[in-house]
Amino acid sequence: MLELLWIVPALPFLGFLLLVLFGKHLSRTGVALIGVGSVGISGILTILIAISFITAPPAGHHFAQTLWVWIDVAGFTPAIAFYLDSLSMIFMLVITFVGFLIHLYSSEFMLDDDGYSRFFAYMNLFIGSMLTLVMGNNLLLLYLGWEGVGLCSYLLIGFWYQDPANGYAARKAFVVTRVGDASMAVGLFLLFKHFSTLNIQSILTQAPDLWAIGAPVATAAALLLLGGAVGKSAQLPLQTWLPDAMAGPTPVSALIHAATMVTAGVYLIARMHVVFALSPIAMLIVAIVGALTLLLSGFSAITQVDIKRVLAYSTISQIGYMFLGLGVGAWSAAIFHFMIHAFFKALLFLGAGVIILTHHHEHNMFKMRGIRKQLPVTFWTFLIASGALAAFPLVTAGFYSKDAIIWYAWSSEQGSPLLWVAGFVGAFITAIYTFRMVFITFFGEPRMEATHKPGIRLKIPLVVLGTLSVIAGFLNLPETMGHFTPFSDFLHFALPAVRTFHETLTQEFFFQIYTALASLVGIYLAYFFFIRKFEFIVQFTKTTFGAALQRYWFSGWAFDWFYDLLFVRPYIWIARINKEDVFDLIYDGIAAISRVFNRMFSFTESGRIRAYAMSIVIGAIIILTIAVVL
């Protein structure tokens, strides 16, 4: 069964090729069959592989498959090779399964769009690239997938390219992530220089022998990789592209900018965990980046009016949690949160997509209001996902995954009370902005009528993901509640367990109560301010301080403005003054000097013989004088 591994990424690529070559001649049904079918079959195959991998694990709990040697230059021989262990298994499952549901959803969502086959071609290419990213056995193949998903992200953000704003958002996403990618490329060069290979497993086994803990070179390598992860996962300071990326179609936001691609940074850090573990400073920076990002984007989410932008900021914030988990060494908790987040955030985006589709493509929450009666299925699934996002205690999956990260931020050896406070406050803010969104969108007096009922292909993904947003949490129960942890046990074949101290069950129990309270109080506050006493908020935003704060948070802490001032404007300025290339000055100078000489010499060419004779005589006298004097 495991030998069929290569087919999993090959199918979406095949679908991409078919759609690119013949998409124009196919009917919409044909396009949907190829586009959804390729991902569906690869999803079924992944599940079969997963069953075989779990029931009959290969030796060492990993499986490598080499297809062919990609490049062979002077000892550098990266292969097209796939590596399957519990980490890549989980990512593959999420990518193909959630990917399939979103493809199914898109087949109805995009039905009226002219670019139907183009859309599915890009989506299939994305799934293929993302699978290459997580399955690649060497960092070069991983990088290929990494750039592939970046390309698809660019293509799909700018999918409705007729609007220049979408093209701008696409370019912004591409350029900002490129900053991180450049850093990652340098990191790969550094790793290759020290290990003479880019094979992930041999780097991971050699690194502890070659580098001491805290070695500067290990820190440098880890930080360079972190640069790539930060760009792709929209973390501080490269988070500015994700809110604008919402210009793309909603299924794209669900698939690429919530569930899969933006978590590639989490995958990269988890995959290279040995390198990171060798550098406590880099780990601390990962945790701090995560903690700061989850707070800043949480505050930004509170002020947004566009439902997709709320979700975008919330995605940045939740990935911040994953980084926090990675940074304190709670690898499996971070990956668990990745999986749960993929379920509920994809569901939130898909729910938002249904609302947008049935309300004249309106994004503004304040213009919808009270639509829970019009779209009951969407409302209930959206509510479940919001509960998961806000970590509603006990019944939602988000509670178990987020609670684990917050608990390890305190109890892990690399944890600290400050990190815990960040996670705790973040959980509180998450509850507020999530239920602000729910209350504004679904409650109150209806202001718009739904134009039509969502079809079955929109509803199935909602229901399936809604179910998963509840039951997936029980895959990893904390010690205080049964200690049923098949998920982390499975993951510990690939990632080390978190090392903790000062851990008692009562303490953990109390911390869970704090987290639960944060969530509940946050939800209550959202109810109080956005349903009961909405005028408070209106009043507050009218005061000078309130208005300034709102504007500041609304613009995402003015990072865009700051980057515009710091990079974009100086760049444009330099480009303008350097319109005629600075290096041309050298060649222009040479030309100008010869022109001056030319003018001087042509002046002596007077045509008067006596002047020539004079110059000869003067020259002769000068030479004679020199000869005599010397």
Partner: protein, 102 residues
């Protein structure tokens, strides 16, 4: 035989040469320019003769004959040019023929 001292001969040659140069520079009439040139050539020839007499070598006279030949050829060409210039510009002023200035 009274031998003329070398210095006197060379001095005479120098004076003649200088006169030729000055004539060449100050005269505008092409005929006079040509004559100044002849004077300079003869000054050079005189220097050769004097030097040859001083060292008792025939080379000086050989050189003089060469110079004489060359001067004759030069005058032939030079006079032809003067005729052409006169034809064209109706004057013998050398500055008039400055059409080739850059």
């Amino acid at each position: 035989m009274i031998s003329i001292p070398l210095e006197s001969g060379l001095l005479l040659a120098g004076i003649l040469f200088a006169l030729g140069v000055v004539g060449l520079l100050v005269r505008r009439n092409v005929v006079f320019v040509l004559m100044s040139l002849e004077i300079m050539l003869n000054a050079a020839g005189l220097a050769f003769i004097v030097a040859g007499a001083r060292w008792g070598q025939p080379d000086g006279q050989v050189m003089f004959i060469f110079i004489l030949t060359m001067a004759a050829a030069e005058v032939a060409v030079g006079l032809a040019l003067i005729l052409q210039i006169y034809h064209r510009f109706k004057t013998l002023d050398s500055d008039a023929a400055s059409k080739m200035r850059g």
